[in-house]
Point group: C2
Chain length 334, copies 2
């Protein structure tokens, strides 16, 4: 069986910077025609100029034609006057709650009063067709903090009906259920949240390479995500949240959050969708839906997957990928 | 402040074997006058002869007067005729559900039919004053598997009203609540389940050295355990479940379950009980309750704790202890 994907798109990708970027950009471009590049670098991409510079660096390092769309990092110090979208207009501004995840120390206090300060800014985004992308977790208990964010998503969607609000890497049934209640709410779903539950992380041996934020949840949560993905619901996009961390940062006494799924994304997605009789929905999930939600242009490419097994690498440049050494039923045709 | 503990007892301890045993026995004897030694060795202690041999080896390696009480490992192959208690009568037989934790591959199928096969055996234990100690987890979802075991505890307690059934290292409110419903149910509680929740394990960076089975649960669960411990309820005993694993087994791509709390047990217990205005209950929790539940004799010793800070070691013989490098408010007076 061959599956031909037209210009697949990753709506949530971490490419990092420096040496890692070289590797990550090349890797991403072999499977995708484009991606939204997350701006939580050190320092974060807080200005249109930084986004423009990052975009050109990513694209110059890509191995194949690839469009990078850096999101603009929102901080409590972001000028509330409009940034100069003539310099660079992002597809989305990214809101990280302060201290929720990797390099998010500069994020935004999510108290209602503080978010209200951004009201005009968000309206300006809406008027310019710029979406608001959110890592939706409170500082609450690890297994509850995403669900606790639901009222904040709902309040933002209500307050700004013309703003596209993207719930990133949703992991719970609560947010899956929220999707239909507000016309302007959208979601990305990762491959790892479709594959794993908390039992994979802590049920047998502890598996640091399956540790991410939001943490993988219960089987019921995963089922809700699978329902959305396998139907390729139009408000849902694939976003890998692939995040490279060196083995030394993942295997130690304190392990960083983040799963490096980039090397296996399309083969594993094809396997999963094929196993669940959803292969006909894959094109919408990994490309068409995002193209309708965001207004972007991608290099016109075809990526062909074939049902010949592929063994995931053990390590790439010191980073252990998801599914390391596992056999995957599909591979990318060269 | 000085706290003098008379013959403190650890009702659930892993001392392992070989080189590790040398270190573990010495360490345990510096803080406790005795302990129930768990029999999940390789091979497990499945006969009275093996228990007797292990007891004498532990005691000969102890640095201070110390009584070791190995539990007898129950397997599906355990002869259902009475073992020879003249050779060695354990305080408890230990039931591990098959495949629930470290070295439990030889455990017992916990289906009701299979447990019924042990009916006469359990009655014989009851008649001889031998308790039934249980690692109560099903093969269910990681966060539910202890609560799912509650009906099995209840059924065993009802079926054998003269048998003391010990719920080991309880971690959930469900089991805390079960304790009062059956006169012959008892429980051990670890220090780590009194200290930590799932948020400490996965809420920030992932912490493999806080990974154990049963996994630490929610704040509400911990509160229920603290209530029992700080009141030193008579059916509750301290059992550390301290389990040494080499750093290499805890820090890698697959991390073993088990927390090595042995080096810090009494100082950290004193600190915790003092902080919670429960210091007057510590003697009951770490000794007197167990002495009433089990019928044992211990070397008559006094261990004195003093409120002078102690820095927990970073590593002992390749093993990272709980609270490594943390300052603890109490230390053991030499």
């Amino acid at each position: 069986m061959k599956i031909v994907l037209r210009s697949p798109f990753d709506a949530h990708l971490h490419l990092r910077d420096g040496e890692l970027l070289t590797r990550a950009a090349a890797l991403a471009s072999r499977q995708f025609a484009g991606a939204i590049a997350m701006p939580n670098l050190a320092p974060p991409l807080t200005t249109p100029e930084m986004c423009a510079d990052y975009k050109s660096r990513v694209e110059s390092l890509a191995a194949e034609p690839f469009a990078a769309f850096p999101a603009l990092f929102l901080t409590d110090k972001t000028p509330l006057s409009p940034p100069d979208f003539n310099v660079f207009k992002p597809l989305a501004v990214k809101l990280y709650p302060a201290a929720a995840t990797t390099n998010s120390e500069n994020g935004v206090n999510i108290g209602a009063e503080n978010l209200a300060r951004f009201g005009d800014f968000f309206e300006m985004c809406a008027a310019n067709g710029v979406a608001l992308s959110i890592h939706g977790e409170t500082n609450g208990a690890a297994l509850e903090r995403e669900a606790e964010f639901a009222p904040i998503y709902a309040a933002l969607a209500r307050a700004h009906p013309n703003l596209k609000v993207i719930m990133e890497h949703i992991s719970t049934r609560v947010l899956a259920d929220l999707l239909d209640r507000h016309a302007n709410l959208y979601a990305t779903i990762t491959l790892h949240h479709l594959l794993y539950t908390i039992d994979d992380l802590i049920g047998g041996a502890l598996k640091p390479h399956l540790f991410c934020k939001p943490v993988v949840k219960t089987a019921a949560d995963r089922a809700a995500l699978r329902e959305l993905a396998f139907a390729a619901r139009e408000k849902v996009m694939f976003g890998s949240d692939s995040a490279p961390h060196l083995r030394s940062a993942k295997e130690g006494s304190r392990c960083a959050a983040g799963i490096f799924s980039a090397p296996v994304l399309l083969p594993k997605l094809a396997e999963l969708f094929a196993e669940n009789a959803a292969i006909s929905k894959l094109q919408k999930f990994v490309g068409d839906n995002a193209r309708k939600i965001y207004d972007f242009r991608l290099p016109d490419r075809e990526i062909t997957l074939i049902d010949e097994p592929f063994t995931a690498p053990n390590e790439i440049a010191g980073i252990v990928p998801m599914c390391a050494e596992e056999n995957i039923a599909f591979s990318i045709m060269k």
